[in-house]
């Protein structure tokens, strides 16, 4: 594209300097905080962090919830994506627009809406009590269930978008071809749809998992201090305790988990390919 490499490098230099000075350097300093002690470099802060049972609970809860949200969104996402690609082109665009619509609404507004829906006098409880299914309203808010529901609603569109585009790239008639060759729906999914959409699943899964792991507003509002997640714990350590070392540890854990999730999903996808 460019006559010489120097010209190209010169053009990227401002952006590179900007990113290095204002992003990489501060992040590096912040993350190194946890390794620096008066006695020199040490992993002690990590040891201390995981020594606390409460922190371990928060760690496993965050990991499990993010994984559960990713898994649930994959199940719902495949069904929704198949339904969408089966529609005639005109209504496909319309339904796809409805899927994207929530992404245009602020997550704060969306999360507050869940307070209205899931609260003691919200309409889920009113309906359940009104129909005589329950005697007293269910306590949904400030539980893992509430955070799960909020995160699922928040990130499901990303999974659906990834899977729809993956399915649109499948050869036309691959599914009916498999059915005529004797495959039931489970076999059609495992032998044809899954292998042909694994890239979309990896992308969608990474987006949903890392999104759920690093979301702050939803666990803060729907989980509160009762259901602490890594992200809300991080905020608490900084804002309440002024404990930047713990915050740095948590930030590092989040980064490592996000990258590992992506690598793991990619590996799962390519292992399937190698076998096929």
């Amino acid at each position: 594209m460019f006559g010489n490499r120097v010209e190209g490098l010169a053009l990227t230099l401002p952006a590179a300097v900007f990113a290095a000075a204002l992003f990489l350097l501060p992040v590096g300093i912040l993350l190194s905080e946890a390794f620096r002690t008066p006695e020199g470099w040490s992993l002690g802060a990590y040891w201390d962090f995981f020594a606390s049972p409460r922190n371990r609970t928060v760690f496993w809860r965050s990991l499990a919830l993010a994984a559960e949200v990713a898994a649930a969104s994959a199940v719902i996402g495949y069904a929704a994506a198949y339904a969408i690609v089966s529609l005639p082109p005109k209504s496909r665009g319309r339904v796809f627009g409805l899927v994207i619509l929530p992404l245009m609404i602020s997550p704060v507004a969306r999360t507050y809406a869940w307070l209205v829906i899931l609260g003691r006098t919200g309409f889920v409880n009113q309906a359940l009590v009104g129909m005589g299914i329950l005697d007293t309203p269910l306590r949904i808010l400030f539980s893992e269930t509430a955070v799960f529901i909020g995160l699922l609603q928040l990130f499901l569109p990303l999974m659906i978008i990834s899977l729809v585009s993956a399915m649109e790239n499948m050869p036309r008639d691959a599914i009916p071809a498999a059915r005529v060759l004797g495959a039931n729906w489970a076999q059609v999914f495992l032998r044809v749809i899954l292998p042909l959409t694994r890239e979309g699943l990896v992308i969608g899964g990474t987006l949903v998992f890392t999104g759920s792991l690093t979301a702050y507003i939803t666990p803060a509002i729907l989980g509160g201090s009762k259901v602490l997640m890594l992200e809300t714990l991080l905020y608490q350590r900084v804002a309440v305790a002024n404990d930047f070392v713990s915050a740095s540890v948590i930030a590092m854990i989040l980064i490592v988990m996000s990258f590992s999730a992506n690598l793991l999903l990619k590996r799962m996808a390519s292992a399937r390919r190698a076998r096929a």
């Binding site: 050869p171 036309r172 009916p176 071809a177 059915r179 005529v180 004797g182 495959a183 032998r191």
Partner: protein, 319 residues
């Protein structure tokens, strides 16, 4: 031979629109049937219903004595070669052909796949990816993939339309050979009358979701039952017959140009190698005629006498 595959009062619909309306058709074992018609006539829809990919609104499909109307596609023992071939891009040629056999837990898998690939002349391509094959080779893989399942009926959707002229002839002979060797009952869908005439034992001409005529290629070619079929097989001049109230139809070659009781103006002329084709505007209507290439050419705009000999026309019940 008695009927092997029968469609009884079959009505097929997508949502609110009826694509095929109370269709009745009986096919014998080992027959090669062409469903012929323009796009939108319901031929592909009918084929998908036979394969079980579309549930009929009403009517019955019977195969080999059994009612299969509500049987899942996976248990119908019907093969389908898609127009797009629909090979699985993540599987090798071998695994594509093995797909159905694996699901069936075929004990003799490797041998059966090898046999299937040999039938279509692709033994050396087992380890290739489908994307590395030409269109014609991909289609033969799709054919092998269906054939190894020993289907009772093999359905083919526009099997020749994606191939170039040379491959088309090759594939046509290939299909006839496979049909001869395996004796499988074949139903193929086409919009090309030449293809249907060359391949089929019997042709089912469809129009607007209904059968227009069923017959051997010779019958369809020489005794079209309606103006629609006549037009489809090249009787391009169709005029009402005042004597019978029906209609008469002529091929271009049956029209005498240069002499006769009628006259018309040449609107279009084109050279087609072995002959010249003319379109005439006449008081009777549009007439299409041809002359041997050796005859002197006629210029557009010229007035010319012509005759429509009754003995060279086919009689139709209606135009």
């Amino acid at each position: 031979m008695s009927e092997f595959l029968s469609l009884e009062d079959l009505t097929l619909a997508y949502g609110g629109s009826v694509a095929v309306d109370r269709l009745n058709l009986a096919i014998r074992q080992g027959e090669l049937i062409a469903l012929l018609g323009p796009s939108g006539c319901g031929k592909t829809t009918t084929m998908r219903a036979i394969a079980g990919l579309l549930a009929p609104r009403s009517g019955t499909i019977r195969l080999d004595g059994k009612d299969i109307t509500r049987v899942a596609p996976s248990r119908r023992e019907v093969g389908l070669v898609f127009q797009s071939y629909a090979l699985f891009p993540h599987l090798s040629v071998f695994e594509n052909v093995a797909f159905g056999l694996r699901l069936r837990k075929e004990p003799d898998l490797a041998a059966r796949v090898a046999e299937g690939l040999a039938t279509v002349g692709l033994s050396d391509f087992a380890d290739r990816a489908p994307a590395a094959l030409s269109g014609g080779q991909q289609q033969r893989v799709a054919l092998a993939r269906s054939l190894v399942m020993n289907p009772k009926v093999l359905l083919l959707d526009e099997p020749l339309s994606n191939l170039d002229a040379r491959l088309r002839l090759e594939m046509r002979m290939e299909l006839q050979r496979v049909q001869r060797e395996t004796g499988v009952t074949m139903v193929f869908v086409t919009h090309d009358q030449a293809e249907a005439l060359a391949l089929a034992d019997r042709i089912v001409v469809m129009r607007g979701g209904a059968i227009e005529q069923v017959g051997t290629p010779e019958q369809i070619w020489t005794e079209p039952a309606s103006g629609f079929v006549a037009d489809f097989v090249g009787f391009e001049t169709i005029l009402p017959d005042p004597e019978t109230g029906g209609a008469l139809a002529w091929r271009p070659a049956a029209v005498t140009l240069g002499s006769g009781p009628h006259s018309g103006v040449i609107r279009g002329a084109s050279f087609a190698g072995a002959h010249r084709e003319y379109v005439l505007d006449t008081p009777l209507g549009v007439v299409k005629a041809e002359t041997p290439a050796s005859a002197p050419p006629l210029a557009p705009g010229a007035e010319v006498a012509f005759d429509l000999p009754r003995e060279r026309a086919v009689r139709l019940a209606s135009a």
